[in-house]
Each structure stands twice: as structure tokens, then as C-alpha cells.
Amino acid sequence: MTAAIVAIFIAFLVGLPIARIVHREADRLELAGTAFLHGTGAIFLLMMGLSVLGIPASIAIVGVALLAVFAVATAFAMRKRPNTAKTPALHVVDILTVATLAGYALYATLAAPWEIDFWAIWGLKGRIFHEAGGIDWRFLESRWNVFQHSDYPLLVPLNLDFTALVAGDWDDRWMGAIYVAWGASLIAVIRSLAAREATACFAALVTFAIAAPCLTRFVGLAEGALVAYGAAGVLFVRAALRDDDAGSWRQGALLLGFAANCKNEGLALLVAVTIAAALCGPRSRIVPSVKRLWPAFALAAPWLVLRAFHALPTDLAGGSLFDRLSQHLADAGAILALLASRLSQPWAWIALAVALFAVPPAAIARERFVLVAMGIQLAFLVGAYFVTPFDVAWHVWASWPRLTAQLAVPVTFVVAMALAATLSESPGIPIRESPA
């Protein structure tokens, strides 16, 4: 357990000055939340870079490199003017969120990650890379190993590898702890963003409503990291569109870039957010809005180049895509009915749908960016079942509950915030039509 906690602490420490540079007006909750996200992102980039350069990852080499990153980032952060942002006031309701997090910490660390996709995909790659001293291209390229989805990006496996480096050997018993840290980071970000627009009581209540969806039950998979990076990224872009705040743009772009390095759905999310930002932002600023997401694409690019260079296959794109699409379109009704019947936490989605009738139409219109982005992402996720090379029923059973959980955090946030604004009769903050 000590090694997992030390690894988390190192990631937090490395990410702290980076988070400070990215958003100098960040309050302490935002800093605390984004520090670990930027830290694990930096560890991923560093370990991928070492592999590309052919330098074996040892704790000495990675430790020195991280120390250098920390020193340079701290020097830059110190040159910024002092942070005057206020720390959001806490509320007694926050105790419920802390209790949820405590329950999750016990859940995620009750045993070594047990899910099939941990020891057949994410943990497997982490362990193989740890054994090989970096990304094992031979393993990824082997035709016998296609089951582990060679094309999936490597942020999660390389961070699991980093935890093993800190421990001195691969020991998966406490690897669930890193998922607690990802979830806690997202909760801190959400509490900070909610406090920008709502009273302490409503911000705490909204955060409590979203706490459980932030904490994935799929311990050991990439979902925990993807939900943390993806939801935080979407909500920072929302904040950036509302406030025209450069720091929120940078946060959103970088976190979405890291989301694209967690899973292929993160890459789809980046596309969905870019389209939604173009459609829903101020008409006079479509190009500037989209251009501000360039760091996300810059972060997504290296893995796309590497996987193309190593010819790592993508199962959805393999074979005759159009044949599968036309075949599955004939069964569209059955596929959509299957998705509806397999919807995870249906009552929560029904409550969100009903809640939309309780808020003024103008409040829904104000949240169009997130709702459009999630709508496009939903279309991507459903579309994947129409081109899947696998049995559709099996594919839906194996992935649909996880995929819908990815959408839950941003959607619940905007609906709960609109309800809170309606209750407090706050007019909300419209997306600006011109620069501040």
C-alpha cells in the first residue's frame, strides 16, 4: 500500500506546479484536483518518451527525469504573480461527498483489481511493460495478443507501470488506490467549478450528486482515468465558453488531450467537444474557440503516429466496415432496444430527463455546449455497435454500462446546476458573445 500512496504523492507533487502554470487563477480545490491529473499525464508522456528513445525505464532514470520536470515547472510557476483566487467555502453537505469517497476507497482497494479487462488489457500491458522496462512493441504487435487491443492508448498502463517502479516490483494488490486518486481529483474539480456559479450549499449538493458517477466501479480499467480527464476537460471548456477564461481553455484542452490517451472513446470525445464548441460557442469566435483546443490534438497525436508506425490494428476499423454497417442497420430497431434495456442506472437517466422539464428553457439553452457534446459522443458510442465485428449482443453487454457512465458526469453536472440556479432564482451566466 505504501508504494501506491508514494506513487500517487509523486504524481500530485509533479503536477502541482504544472497545474499552477496552466491556470494561475485556479483556487485551491482546482489546483488540488488538476495537480494529480497533470502529474499522471506528465508521467505518461515521460515514460512513453523514454520508450520511443529506447531508454529502459528504471526508478532512477524516471525519478531524475520527474525531478527535472518538477524543478523546471516550479521555476516557471514561481515567476507567475501570486494566486489571489479564494478557496471555495465548504458546507456540511460536503461530508456526504467525503463519505462517498471513503466508501469508494474501501471498494477499490478491497482486493487486487479483479475485472477481466484489468488482467487481459490494462494491467496486463502495465505488467508486460514493467517487465520489459518500457513499451514492449513486440508484445503489442504479436498476432497472438490482439485480444489486449494493441491500438488502445497507454496512459493507464504506463501509470500502473510507474506504480510498480516505485514499489520495486509488480504488485497489483493496492493498484486500486490510483483509481481513488483519479476520482477524488475529478470531485475536487467539480466542487471548484460548481462553487464558481452556486452557493456553497448548492455547490456541495451538486458535487454529492455527481460523486458516485465520478468513481468508477470498473477498477483496474481505463474508465477511471477517462472519466476524470474527459469530464474535467468538458466542464473546463464549458467554463471557458461562459467566462472566456484563458486558464480554463488551457485546462480543458490539456485534460481532453490526456483523455484521448486513455481510451479511443477519449479521442472521440475530443472530436465531439471540438464540434460542439464550434456549434455552440459565440458565432463570431468559432475559429478562435476551436484553435484554443490545439494542445489537446498535440497531446493526442504522438500515440496516433506510434500506433500507425507499428501498424497496430483497430478492431472496429478492420474488415469490411460498410458491409457490417449495412447489415446492422437492418437490425437498428433491435440494437437500439437492446441498448435501452441494458442502460446502466436507468432511474438516474429518467430523473435527469424529467429534471429538464423543471428548468426554464433558457437554462437548457445555456447548457447547449455540454448537451450537444454529449449527444455527439453518444452518437459515436452507439455508432460503434453498428460497425462492430463482434456479436452485437455480447459487445453491448460487455461495454454499454461503462460507456454510459462516461456521459453521466457532465450531463448530471449541467442538469443539477440548472436545477440549483432555478431554485436560487439565479439567472445563470450566458455564454459571452464578445471577448471580456
Partner: protein, 142 residues
């Protein structure tokens, strides 16, 4: 209070209530030890001795060795891919080879012949020099 605000209050309460995850509440007030018994890899449930068998195989092979994984003929066919994936995880550094295509289910006799070792789970019968025979199976060098 306007009807819209009353409805918004009810809706927020519903959103909060439906998002509470009982699994995490159970961790705080329930029997965690009993729950922990459910948190085991599915292969270890169906093949209880498999992880110990693979630990024996790992201790008798070296990094870089190729090992073909064989499970009993009597075991359900659906279990083979999982057994193969689990072996890949528990035998890191080795080249783990399937003798049945995990995707299609077709036999791959070439892998059995090409591997330096054959790890036979649940049965001690195999071809080649027996490196180890014990509880759970046997390891043969070809």
C-alpha cells in the same frame, strides 16, 4: 414558492437520490470481508488451482521462454480464452502461446509444437521431458 421551483427541488432531490451508489455505502456499513470474496478474477473462480499452477510454471521458466498453454479437454471451451489471457498476465516476460484461437476457437497445433515449454493444466499427460508435475498440472520441455 412557485410551482417551477417546487418541481426543481423535487427533481434535484431525485437526481441526488438516484446517483447514490449503494455499493459504496455498503463498504462503510456492511461486511467488507464477505464482499471481498466476490472480488476475484473469474478464471480463479472456475479454475481454483490455476493461479497457483501458473506460479509453479513461472518459477521454472525464464524470461523469453515460449510457453504453450493447455487446459483439460473436459473444461468448457469458453474458458480457454480467459485461461490464456490469465496466463499472459501471470507469466510476464514469457511468450505465452495459445493452442486454441481465443477469437475463433480453432485449434492451433503449430503453437504446441513450436513452444519451448508446454504447460498442461489439470492433467499430467503430455509430450516431452517433464520439468515438473504437481498439484494442478505439469510442465513439459520440448
Amino acid at each position: 414558492m412557485t410551482p417551477r421551483r417546487a418541481l426543481a427541488g423535487l427533481a434535484l432531490a431525485a437526481v441526488v437520490a438516484t446517483r447514490v451508489d449503494p455499493a459504496y455505502v455498503e463498504m462503510l456499513i456492511g461486511d467488507r470481508d464477505a464482499r471481498a470474496k466476490d472480488f476475484v478474477p473469474i478464471v480463479d473462480v472456475h479454475l481454483p488451482q490455476y493461479a497457483r499452477f501458473l506460479a509453479e510454471v513461472r518459477s521454472r521458466t525464464a524470461a523469453g521462454d515460449s510457453i504453450a498453454i493447455v487446459t483439460p479437454d473436459a473444461a468448457p471451451r469458453e474458458l480457454y480464452p480467459l485461461a490464456y489471457y490469465r496466463a499472459s498476465y501471470l507469466l510476464p516476460g514469457r511468450e505465452v502461446l495459445p493452442v486454441i484461437d481465443p477469437q475463433g476457437g480453432a485449434p492451433i497445433p503449430g503453437n504446441r509444437a513450436a513452444a519451448r515449454y508446454v504447460a498442461v493444466f489439470g492433467d499430467s499427460a503430455g509430450a516431452g521431458e517433464a520439468v515438473w508435475k504437481g498439484e494442478g498440472g505439469a510442465l513439459y520441455r520440448r
